[in-house]
């Protein structure tokens, strides 16, 4: 949460971009967009543009990082140099190292890792354009990319942040709200098991505000879960269509 400049974030009971307090920015997800990766998903979330790709399960290198009874889910979150107003120096910084760790941990629970001992499932998240909420967007896209790669999973992880601006608990902070707001609570949620697999918070919240924020975030995650499933459905139907067309073309 940034410095407390006199930036107005709420006017007439609405947020500056016209959203209700519990309203998400627009989210679109497209699965299967890269050729080389085993699975991929492209997500736009408000002004965020994020690509996620999955390779694996494949042999884990270095060897000493292998786990004998399960696959390791290894996520790498990265921002393109041009994704933010001030050019980001290439290479991992402390923020991206932490996010990569949290996303790895958040995804592991839904993947049937025990099916692939000694393997690694690599998840790459590239933020091409950043506008608040990239870790939630990255985690959401990564789940879809995992499914697109055919990795057996118990559920898709959906992720969304809530927070506080001008004393008001709101959903899915935009850029200014993130910079000048009072609290940010990124949540990763597994609908089927009703579990929280990512949880961070910074700023200032009372116990009650925490609960309000969490209720909002969980509700939103369920909505996002629908968008994720729709993206996968779309993907399969396209694939099917492609094959049908191919069949037709080949005169079958």
């Amino acid at each position: 949460m940034g410095s407390n400049k006199d930036i107005e974030l709420i006017e007439d009971g609405k947020r500056m971009d016209g959203r209700e307090f519990d309203e998400l920015r627009e989210i679109t997800i497209k699965a299967g967009v890269l050729k080389r990766a085993d699975g991929s998903a492209y997500l736009e979330w408000g002004k965020n543009k994020i690509m996620a790709a999955v390779y694996g399960p494949r042999e884990m290198h270095p060897r000493h990082a292998q786990e004998t009874r399960k696959a390791v889910v290894r996520a790498r979150y990265n921002m393109a140099a041009f994704s933010v107003p001030d050019r980001k120096r290439p290479g991992p910084d402390r923020r991206s190292i932490e996010i990569s760790k949290l996303v790895s941990e958040a995804l592991e629970k839904v993947v049937f890792t025990e099916k692939y001992p000694r393997s690694v499932i690599d998840v790459f998240i590239e933020v091409l354009q950043a506008s608040a909420g990239t870790r939630c967007g990255g985690l959401t896209a990564a789940s879809v990319a995992l499914a697109d790669a055919g990795i057996p999973m118990s559920d898709l992880v959906a992720s969304c942040a809530s927070g506080k601006i001008e004393g008001q608990v709101v959903l899915d902070l935009g850029k200014n709200e993130d910079n000048y707001g009072q609290a940010d609570v990124p949540v990763g949620y597994i609908p089927r098991s009703d579990d929280i697999c990512l949880l961070q918070m910074d700023g200032n919240l009372t116990e009650e505000e925490y609960e309000e924020a969490m209720d909002m975030a969980i509700e939103a995650c369920k909505e996002i879960h629908g968008i994720q499933r729709e993206a996968l459905r779309e993907r399969y139907s396209t694939e099917l269509k492609d094959e049908n067309e191919k069949d037709l073309a080949e005169g079958v």
Partner: protein, 267 residues
């Protein structure tokens, strides 16, 4: 060189937890002995050594004069680093901070930063030109579990022990050294979940079999200023609420210990 507990040890630990017991006989929400010693490191502007059972952490602060960030020209700059040196555990390796050290430093840093512990506006010497840079260094000497709390407590104590070395820098606004301006006293409480049991302050073996970890940092008004879920397991929503409730009493007690050691009245 990851250490792995034997199956027998694990089973024993799981059984204990199931029976609502801990290896060292503590209650589920009881800390090990906490020993806080501030001001032991002379060259540091402030310092604290925290022992949580056998976990042993040194925190030192150093201050220098430098440029502010362009977007906060009137604020001093805070920077927190953690080193998990190979002295502290057979699992730690030499080299630049890995993801564990990075997460530790960042979580503790957020507690300080978002909790507005330090009044950084007081650390501005000349707007946009010169501010105090405050370096917080966390040095772990012996790792026997729950670094988040040991480091968090140590950082809070070290900050309260810190004296701004104004006299050493002829370009500083004030001529005499003065105590670092502290606005809030933030301390963390870190819970782990083993199967369905939640417990405070895991020692090493417990941490090794833990599914998930949750750190909650509270200020003296019981407001939450930072949280972080860690490890590859999950929490259900209700458990997180329970942790917050428990954290209130726990942090309150820890906070008293810190204040008692550092003995500042102006908080």
């Amino acid at each position: 060189m990851k250490e792995i507990l034997s199956k027998i040890t694990k089973d024993y630990l799981y059984r204990l937890v199931k029976e609502g017991k801990r290896v060292d006989g503590r209650n589920m929400f009881e800390y090990r002995d906490i020993e806080i010693k501030a001001g032991e490191i002379e060259p540091a502007e402030g310092s604290a050594r925290v022992r949580l059972g056998d976990t042993d952490v040194y925190v030192g602060t150093k201050m220098d004069v430098g440029e502010p960030f362009p977007d906060t020209p009137e604020s001093g700059v805070l920077t927190t680093s953690a080193e998990l040196i190979p002295m502290a555990s057979p699992e730690y390796e030499s080299g630049p901070p890995g993801e564990d050290a990075t997460e530790l430093a960042r979580v503790v840093d957020r507690g300080v930063r978002e909790g507005e512990v330090v009044d950084t506006s007081e650390l501005c010497i000349e707007e946009g030109e010169k501010v105090w840079i405050l370096f917080i260094d966390i040095h772990v000497l012996d790792y026997d579990g729950n670094l988040f709390d040991a480091a968090g407590i140590g950082v809070m104590a070290a900050l309260m022990d810190t004296v701004v070395p104004a006299s050493k820098f002829d370009d500083a606004k004030k001529e005499e050294d003065y105590p670092l301006p502290i606005d809030h006293v933030v301390v963390p409480a870190t819970f782990t979940k083993i199967k369905d049991q939640i417990l405070l302050d895991s020692q090493l073996e417990e941490e090794k079999i833990a599914d998930a970890r949750l750190t909650v940092s509270l200020n003296e008004n019981d407001e939450i200023v930072a949280m972080q879920k860690g490890l590859r397991g999950v929490f259900d929503y209700e458990s997180t609420k329970e942790c917050i409730k428990k954290a209130k009493d726990i942090c309150s007690e820890t906070r008293e210990k810190v204040i008692e050691e550092v003995g500042r009245e102006n908080i």
